[in-house]
Symmetry: C2
Subunit: 245 residues, 2 copies
């Protein structure tokens, strides 16, 4: 419980490798997670080879943790294995659609997060690579994912080079609603974001990005409409290519 | 670590309530999870009211755990709050697209699973309701989710009525791949599914469903092509209605 409370993302790793025994134990724990109908419609691709990690980094805008971490895991929605099993058993499978991709993707993320919590409890540090669905096509090619397999999220993992520093979160009332969704008034929005906006590191972040405020940094530099729309197109094309619609 | 290894889904709960303090603590821990750009593009709707849970159960094909659990949580992708913040700060937000929905959904599942692991460590039992994306439209209406908020997954939680029994998992080699995806030969498929197919409870399951084998029960009764396609249509309509495409 303590490691969950104190956790923070770790992007810089020591040279220490992760033993195959520990990795196996963590993967075993991860696969104990809940999943839809116990179909286990997911697969995990383990990258350890430096050359492969270098190629994989290119699919994640060269974020350095992909190369620096001893282990990188790509968690995939996978209805290939299940559909092959069905075909061999004369069962009429129909998982080549968006709903099946959705529940397989949810299951892949559940497995990923259990892995992360267990890894952190063992003193490892993790970083999610949200870029997985941006360049899915390139990841599919590199990892040789067949139809009905889709990369959903990626985690780099290793021993932290230094103790990670937690960053801020919104107050709980910002994200938790009782019985029904309580929409936000302008005053709510101001109040709930005040502490975040006033943090020295966030003010510095605004300054170095030459913007008026933090929201502009996010919406106009880091996660722009143009990028979101472009990567929506690439995502939908990759989903189609893998046979899910 | 131990609770993660021994865990199993819990669908039957005792009468014991979950204290507000414990629920708050678990939600606080959940929100320490990784999320895209620390945007926290998720919301959690807490259902405790019996009448509301009854109505919510109807959106989950009346699975009894929705009514029986003291607490039911609906984890949503949420770019409403963030976009409102941007609008108030004169920042041009562009999160009304599939890529933004995708990363917000991944974040919602990460938070959900951290909640579940923490809850289980505290002696609670959980059950995921994969039906959330099937009847998303009905859930959106019941929970009054505004545009740019989408229900991704639901968790019922309470004290277990009896110790949960673990069900089987495929051997690790079935789901873990080294460096690249190793596709399955027919012999692999047979070997990897053998233990699962031979379990007495799974053989019984085949028998009571009057099918030839387990794959047929899954593909032709539980998760049919017809249902998957129908619920793909309802999902896409709900995604559009919420303004994500």
């Amino acid at each position: 419980m303590d490691s969950m409370k104190k956790r923070a993302t770790v992007r810089a790793y020591s040279q220490q490798d992760i033993s195959p025994e520990l990795l196996d134990e963590l993967l075993e724990i991860a696969c104990r997670s809940s999943n839809t109908g116990n179909m286990q419609a997911y697969s995990i691709v383990v990258s350890r080879d430096p050359e492969r990690k270098k190629a994989l980094a290119a699919c994640h805008f060269n974020q350095p943790q992909v190369v620096n971490a001893p282990v990188v895991l790509t968690f995939c929605a996978d209805f290939n294995r299940f559909s092959k099993w069905c075909a061999q058993r004369n069962a009429q499978a129909g998982f080549n659609n968006v709903q099946a991709l959705t529940y397989a993707s949810i299951d892949a993320v559940i497995v990923a997060q259990t892995f992360c919590v267990a890894a952190e409890e063992k003193g490892l540090g993790i970083c999610y690579l949200g870029t997985t669905t941006y360049l899915a096509k390139e990841i599919i090619e590199l990892l040789e994912l067949p139809p009905l397999v889709f990369p959903v999220t990626t985690v780099s993992v290793g021993y932290p080079l230094e103790p990670p520093k937690q960053c801020e979160r919104l107050p709980q009332e910002a994200v938790v609603h009782s019985e029904t969704y309580r929409d936000y008034t302008p005053a709510d929005i101001d109040r709930l974001h005040l502490a975040k906006e006033q943090l020295p590191e966030n003010r510095h972040f605004v300054e170095i990005n030459h913007k008026e405020n933090l929201a502009q940094v996010f919406a106009e530099i880091r996660y722009t409409k143009k990028d979101n729309e472009h990567f929506s197109d690439t995502l939908l094309r990759a989903v189609k290519k893998q046979g899910f619609c």
